[in-house]
């Protein structure tokens, strides 16, 4: 299975008497095209896990495989973590965090542009995604001119534009009402299928938890997998 696989991941902050084990033993596997939920109480290690998965902080031990390639095995196996984040991991945040001085199209096209793709090609690819997410008509609008739901769809398009094997979504529906929250999950499911992307959604949102087919509970730095309701939202 490609997608993302995590085995025995640990993260310890500090050392000696003051050491804190934020992640004690995390196992996860998300297949391409699958959307899984990651839930847990505050302080359980969700954000730490997300930062490890996002190659923002280095785990203390364990193994991570992304798209079939081992990226961490008792140490990073990839030299350029910035390029890894740019090309192979998509991020969707609680707030959209769009770049306020770029229009919608360039917000989405920015990543491929930064990767050295020609501007025209990057914008063409961005426009395709915006079209798939029904916001192509706002391509030339500035982020401040969009509604919350539109901003979040643009953020999803930005996460998808590099066709990453995995997308990490950190409470993407938190600021949205029920209808819009379900709309975002519907889009994430569709995009996961269409682009064969593994999506991990960290959430507290009771409205969307029943929609996941699989859920990882994280408690005290350990994960437990359980089957979700997989309620249809189509």
């Amino acid at each position: 299975m490609s997608g993302i696989r995590i085995e025995g991941l640990r993260k310890r902050y500090g050392s000696g008497d003051t050491a804190v084990d934020a992640l004690k033993h995390v196992d996860m596997a998300v297949a391409p095209g699958e959307v899984v939920g990651l839930i847990g109480p505050s302080g359980s290690g969700k954000s730490t896990l997300l930062k490890c998965l996002g190659a923002v902080i280095e785990p203390s031990a364990g193994r991570m495989t992304l798209g079939g390639e081992t990226i961490y095995d008792q140490g990073w196996k990839i030299r350029d973590l910035r390029a890894l984040r740019r090309d192979r991991i998509g991020f969707v945040f609680q707030a959209p965090y769009l770049i306020p001085f770029l229009d919608v199209l360039d917000n989405v096209a920015l990543l491929p542009m930064l990767a050295g793709r020609p501007n025209a090609e990057a914008r063409r690819r961005a426009l395709e995604l915006l079209d798939a997410l029904d916001v192509a008509h706002r391509a030339r609008a500035m982020p401040s001119q969009l509604s919350g739901g539109e901003q979040q769809r643009v953020a999803i398009a930005r996460a998808l534009v590099s066709r990453p094997p995995v997308i990490l979504a950190d409470e993407p529906t938190a600021p949205l009402d029920s209808e819009r929250a379900l709309g975002v999950i519907r889009i994430l499911n569709r995009m996961a299928r269409e682009y064969a992307t593994a999506i991990i959604v960290v959430t507290h949102d009771e409205k969307i938890i029943p929609t996941f087919r699989r859920i990882y509970h994280i408690r005290d730095g350990r994960t437990d997998e359980e089957a979700g309701e997989g309620r249809s939202i189509e």
Binding site: K51, V56, F93, I99, F101, L114, M142
Partner: protein
């Protein structure tokens, strides 16, 4: 590649333009300060150029008429004129004073009154170019004024006890202090400079008459001779010398120094006195201002760019998280700082160009200074952006995720 800095500036153009406007006024003041110094140097050179002299003969061991008090007898010029290599020699007096315009709307003008031998253009001491009217041709009560005095042809002006008619107007004839010049006949200038008022003359005569050494009963005519000598003014401040073609100034100066016991300055020496000695303190003063203004400009740019960067910390964290290179983020901040500096420089240059003519003293904005200022502004902006770049590069991409 997309220009993040350009897009940010376009997005918040009002903030950048108004900040650039403020910075530009500061840069304009800096350019003007440099222009004031250049103007002082140029005024000094114009003073020397317009005197038409190649040698300045002054009182021994003095720095000459522009820097120190100097007086030489007014008949010395004849001896100088007879020395080999001297084409023309002429007496001259300089006195900075208030000149009163008479008639309706009477006003005082601070001016340097120059006493010259009435003659045509090209004569040492005479104004080189006239804008209107004619040169001094009569021995008394005529004046040629620099247009900066505000006097007009035919106007009457008062210098000490005498009134003069303005018969000619000239320009760029100013003292090293920037005061416009008023040329009057030499005899009148000597009187204006050395002659006492009537009451003082009466008191001096009485004192002389009471002095038994000067009023001896057995020596008739002695008292009258002494009083007559006290009432005459046989001094001028300097003798200006023009050389015959092909003569070396130093070779001509040497016999004057040796045989007439006077100090002689060549053009280069006089320029050294004016530029290096006379305006040296002012130059240092201006240099201090320039340094302070440069530091203030750098502080303002640094503060603005730092504040703008801190306002974008979350966006920078997101940019870093999604894989933007540090150099792309640093370039964005650097370009914004340089952009701000360029806006400021353009505003400053335009402002300085417009307000320079309104200054009472000559402000010379040289192209070389403008180029140097541009380089300095860009260097300051680059330095000022370092703080903001350091702050941006320290941003942890994990901040975008939170937790």
């Amino acid at each position: 590649m997309i220009s993040l800095a350009g897009r940010d500036i376009l997005h918040g153009w009002g903030k950048f333009v108004f900040t650039g406007l403020g910075l530009g006024l500061l840069i304009g003041v800096t350019l003007t300060m440099a222009g004031v110094y250049r103007g002082m140097v140029d005024d000094a050179r114009a003073l020397l150029d317009n005197s038409g002299a190649e040698l300045w003969v002054v009182q021994q061991d003095t720095l000459g008429p522009y820097a120190e008090s100097s007086s030489v007898h007014d008949d010395v010029w004849r001896s100088i004129a007879g020395i080999e290599g001297v084409a023309r020699a002429a007496n001259i007096t300089y006195l900075t004073m208030q000149v009163r315009q008479t008639g309706p709307g009477a006003r005082d003008v601070r001016a340097m009154v120059v006493g010259v031998t009435p003659d045509g253009p090209g004569h040492p001491g005479q104004p080189v170019h006239l804008l209107a009217g004619r040169h001094l041709t009569r021995g008394h009560y005529e004046a040629v004024a620099d247009i900066a005095t505000g006097f007009a042809l035919g106007e009457r002006i008062r210098i000490r006890r005498n009134e003069y008619t303005v018969v000619g107007l000239t320009r760029r004839m100013v003292s090293s202090g920037g005061d416009p010049m008023v040329f009057i006949p030499l005899k009148d200038a000597q009187e204006a400079q050395f002659l006492k008022d009537n009451d003082a003359i009466v008191r001096q005569r009485a004192r002389t008459a009471q002095n038994p050494a000067l009023n001896r009963p057995g020596v008739p005519g002695l008292l009258d001779a002494v009083i007559a000598s006290q009432s005459t003014n046989p001094y001028v401040n300097a003798v200006l010398v023009q050389l015959a073609p092909g003569y070396d100034p130093e070779r001509v100066a040497e016999p004057i120094r040796r045989w007439l016991r006077l100090t002689v300055y060549t053009r280069a020496q006089m320029e050294e006195i004016l530029v290096a000695k006379l305006i040296a303190t002012s130059a240092r003063q201006i240099a201090m201002f320039l340094v302070i203004l440069a530091v203030v400009s750098a502080a303002i740019v640094a503060f603005i760019i730092y504040t703008l960067t801190l306002g974008k910390i979350r966006e920078i964290a997101v940019l870093k998280l999604i894989g933007t290179r540090n150099r792309t983020i640093a370039a964005m901040i650097l370009q914004q700082a340089v952009g701000l500096g360029l806006i400021g420089f353009v505003v400053g240059k335009i402002a300085a160009t417009f307000w320079a003519p309104a200054f009472p003293k000559y402000v010379l904005l040289e192209t070389g200074d403008t180029v140097r200022a541009l380089v300095a502004v860009l260097a300051i902006c680059v330095l000022a952006s370092v703080l903001a770049i350091r702050a941006a590069l320290r941003v942890d991409p994990a901040e975008a995720i939170g937790g």
